[in-house]
């Protein structure tokens, strides 16, 4: 299968068509930034952009991504060794990262939220991120990170 991932055309061989996009990213394309934590769309850890829309990659069949543009958390900084992007910097500054396992999905979800709504209210943030479970932070610092990123202060 061929698709564009983080701006680069990629091909994965031997893909079984029942695989999920998450599996293709993690196991076939060497991009384990997107996390596998429930495989049922219940936690948001695998959130990626598919043609510009934030989706749970665990519920996307591999075939659905053929010919499409996929952006993962790895693509939100300038490159594998590049500096973190603005949302990523905000998460660092606010202390919104603890174990870091929900973080990649959250970063994509926040990037998506702010691209559609640059100055969300707190209730809008809370609802927009309801699909991203975090077990460590209690969410307060994540709220702070989103406010920081929205204010362009990170």
């Amino acid at each position: 299968m061929t698709c564009t991932v983080n701006g680069v055309p990629r091909t994965a061989d031997d893909v079984w068509e029942g695989e999920s996009l998450l599996y293709v990213l993690r196991e076939r394309l060497g991009l384990p930034g997107s996390k596998n934590a429930c495989e049922q769309g219940e936690c948001g850890s695998c959130t990626v952009y598919l043609d510009g829309t934030a989706v749970c990659s665990c519920l996307v069949a591999a075939g659905q991504a053929v010919g499409r543009e996929v952006v993962t958390v790895e693509g939100l900084s300038g490159g594998p060794d590049a500096e973190p992007g603005p949302v990523q910097r905000a998460f660092l500054a606010a202390g919104a990262v603890q174990c870091g396992f929900c973080t990649p999905g959250l970063i994509v979800a926040v990037d998506d939220l702010l691209s559609r709504n640059p100055h969300p209210t707190d209730p809008q943030i809370r609802e927009a991120l309801a699909g991203n479970l975090c077990r460590c932070t209690g969410y307060e610092k994540i709220m702070e990170a989103v406010r920081l990123a929205a204010g362009g202060q990170a």
């Binding site: 219940e42 958390v73 998460f91 660092l92 202390g95």
Partner: protein, 742 residues
């Protein structure tokens, strides 16, 4: 000299986590890697009559199907000892797939190894397993009649019965008593990362990438289970996606991964599915508690009788120590605590964040509110009247205790004195508002073995400091970097803390809120030893400006040694080493922990909660949580406050959401994140956290008392007390859900 400790610096492992570069145990790329899946028993008791593996073995990509019939035999199962002891730490004294007997649902009965995960999962569906089911007990309700008093619990570390004074006499003399029964659902940890192990053999040497709270615990457990020399095993844990206790003990999957890898001659990854996380890594047991309090007319406790009843496995006498802190928190001369257990067809329960305190203190702190109500006392006042100036057991002084300051500050932040204390008096439209409070305390446990770290300073003045501990998201790597910088007297930016590897100097597992204290002690000892060694070298070096000086007069800052009174006299570490043609200097530090301090040393806190209750629809929403904690010294304000906040949300979740329900078939019925509810962002209230620093010279060199659990301890009781303030209802079970309030 302290410059780095306490500062709210950003997490050192943060950049790798926000960019997706961090490699967790299921992310490690290895050439030739294949995948294993475990298969769990569908029945809770009985035996396997037959397993037909032919279809699975012939499926595409399948390399092996392991069952009790062909699993390579290894070593023996070590005793159940908490991983804080620093030795082998099996989660239960049972290793699966040794025979056909089934002890609990989900018990691992087969491992399927295939080229891809999808192939392994598919092949697992092709197994035909026939069982002969036997009668079983999985709940308190089913096993009440067969309950027995435990001789010891908690891996043998705690007695099953604790008494002081005469509790019957204390109750007889009481002016007021309350006698209350409490019921608690079981809980599962559900860190976002499911447990995973990647195992690779090179000849007779094994490297394991394991999601664990203690790389050394994994190492020693594997050494015994596999009968492999510890010297031939290395456990690497670069990143752990949360644990909350389910990775504190070592379950069977790392050993199964290693056995499978040896069997197929390829590196094997074994990742548990979310559903399997409910039957493979322990749980907080379902339980009942009966609590009787007696008090005199002034509200001073005359007796506390606290009994607990809970199911454990067929292998181990495990109960979380629900009665511990509750027995020691208040000045009361007469106390009796008894643990009763039920042999059940579940796996052995295990540590779950705030193990014991969360449930026991829910009982004590809500019962105290009822007592206060009976006596017409303010809830805060009754706690102050029972304030334990010294430990209630033997009257020895606390190692440090600023609980009174926590009460005062918490009450101030909550506006406690200004609230209308009458039930149902506070309203916001049709919504009833309520305030509640509770005390928090969590013991300072000590590791069972010496804690070690190594410090190496290079000739350019940069330093690497090492210890085996893993960082499960607490921020310990960041805090240890700060401790190392201060110990050496160098800038933070010049220090790298290396961790998460059993080849590094030995530490116990980071559990029980003890990690920061014990590892900071080792890092402190190692880095100050290296500092002193370099100062000694300078004093002995005729080429040094410090030659012949009094070592007590030398201080170090920013990598430069100088006389305290004459800062212009001195030189940098770098100058010293370069002059001596030394590429580096190194020291190992060992910290020998004091004997058990958990009775006289605790992290304390005062917690306040405001809830809003929709009385018609039975909906409770927490609006505000306030916590003020005395956690000794705070190593990093940002990470410590995050830990406390996270703990408070765990408490809220314990109060209102979390419960694993056992079905009549003896299996957990809601084993998914869709059915086992944890809070989402929209549930999170405003959370205020403050710390009151105390100086503690007993627990460890830096006086760190720990922040991992204490945030959770009082939260559920504060919420339940607030619900009472709002509605007048006293609720004695967790979680509290809509049907309790209709």
């Amino acid at each position: 000299m302290t410059t780095a400790i306490g500062r709210p610096i950003d997490r050192v492992d943060g950049p790798a986590k926000v960019t997706g570069a961090g490699r967790y145990s299921a992310d490690v790329p290895l050439p030739g890697l294949v995948h294993a899946v475990v298969v769990g028993s569908r029945i809770p008791a009985g035996r396997i009559i037959s397993i037909d593996t032919r279809a699975a073995e012939q499926a595409n990509g399948v390399l092996a199907v392991l069952t009790h019939l062909n699993l390579p035999k290894g070593g023996s199962v070590p005793p159940l000892v908490p991983s804080l002891a620093g030795a082998a730490a099996t989660g239960q004294t049972f290793f699966p797939m040794q025979d056909e007997v089934i002890h609990y649902a989900g018990q691992h009965v087969a491992v399927v190894v295939a080229e891809t995960l999808e192939q392994a999962e598919h092949a697992a569906t092709l197994l035909r397993i026939d069982y002969a089911a036997a009668p079983f007990v999985t709940t308190v309700e089913q096993g009440r009649e067969q309950a027995y008093e435990a001789r010891r619990i908690f891996g043998g570390f705690l007695p099953g019965r604790v008494e002081r004074g005469d509790v019957d006499a204390g109750l007889a003399e009481a002016a007021v008593t309350v006698d209350l029964g409490y019921r608690y659902a079981a809980n599962h940890h559900n860190p976002i990362e499911c447990s995973a192990t990647t195992a690779v053999w090179q000849g007779d040497r094994l490297t394991v990438y394991d999601a664990t709270q203690g790389p050394n615990a994994t190492l020693h457990t594997l050494a015994e289970l596999l009968n492999v020399m510890p010297s031939h095993i290395r456990v690497v844990t670069d990143f752990v996606g949360g644990s909350f206790g389910c990775k504190a003990m070592i379950w069977d999957h790392p050993a199964l991964a290693a056995l499978a890898a040896r069997h197929v001659g390829r590196p094997v990854r074994l990742a548990l599915s979310r559903e399997q996380m409910f039957s493979s890594v322990g749980h907080r047991e379902q339980q009942e508690q009966q609590l009787t309090l007696g008090a005199d007319a002034q509200g001073r406790l005359t007796a506390v009788r606290h009994h607990k009843l809970s199911p454990t496995s067929h292998f181990d006498d495990w109960a979380e120590p629900s009665l511990g802190v509750a027995s020691q928190l208040y000045a009361c001369p007469n106390y009796q605590g008894v643990y009763r257990l039920i042999r059940a067809n579940t796996m052995t329960p295990t540590f779950t964040r705030c193990p014991g305190e969360a449930s026991g203190m829910f009982a004590l702190e809500t019962a105290l509110d009822e007592l206060a109500e009976r006596l017409g006392l303010d809830p805060l006042e009754i706690r102050l009247r029972n304030y334990a100036e010294t430990t209630p057991g033997d009257g020895t002084p606390w190692s440090s205790k600023k609980l009174r300051e926590c009460y005062r500050r918490g009450a101030e932040l909550a506006g406690w004195d200004r609230r209308d204390p009458r039930v149902g008096a506070l309203r916001d439209g049709d919504t009833l508002l309520g305030w509640g409070m509770a005390t928090s305390a969590y013991p300072c446990y000590q590791p069972g073995n010496p804690q070690r770290a190594r410090a190496r300073l290079y000739a350019d003045g940069s330093a690497v400091v090492q210890a085996s501990i893993s960082d499960i998201g607490t921020g310990s790597a960041t805090a240890m970097t700060q401790v190392a910088a201060d110990g050496l007297g160098v800038q933070l930016e010049r220090v790298r803390f290396q961790y998460g590897d059993s080849d590094l100097p030995n530490t116990a597992a980071a559990v029980g809120s003890a990690g920061a204290g014990m590892v900071s002690a080792a890092v402190h000892v190692a880095t100050t030893a290296l500092r002193d060694q370099l100062i000694a070298q300078a004093l002995a070096d005729p080429g040094s400006p410090l030659h012949g000086a009094d070592p007590r007069q030398v201080t170090v800052a920013e990598g430069r040694m100088a006389l305290r009174e004459r800062p212009d006299v001195g030189e940098t570490y770098a100058a010293l080493l370069q002059r001596a043609f030394m590429a580096d200097a190194e020291a190992v530090g060992t910290w020998n922990p004091p004997p058990d301090t958990s009775g006289g040393s605790m992290t304390f806190g005062a917690q306040f909660a405001q809830v809003a209750v929709d009385p018609d629809l039975g909906l409770v929403r927490v609006r505000r949580l306030i916590g003020v904690f005395d956690a000794g010294r705070i190593l990093n304000r940002k990470t410590a406050h995050s830990q406390l906040m996270g703990g408070m949300i765990w408490g809220m979740s314990h109060a209102l959401l979390e419960g694993t329900r056992m079905g009549p078939d003896g299996r957990w019925a809601n084993a998914s994140l869709g059915e086992y509810l944890v809070p989402v962002n929209a549930d999170a209230p405003e959370v205020v956290v403050e710390t009151v620093e105390s100086t503690d010279t007993v627990v460890n060199p830096l006086g760190v008392k720990g922040v991992g659990e204490v945030g959770m301890v009082g939260t559920a009781a504060a919420i339940a007390n607030a619900i009472h303030h709002a509605t007048g209802k006293r609720l004695h079970r967790l979680p509290i859900t809509i049907e309790d309030l209709l």
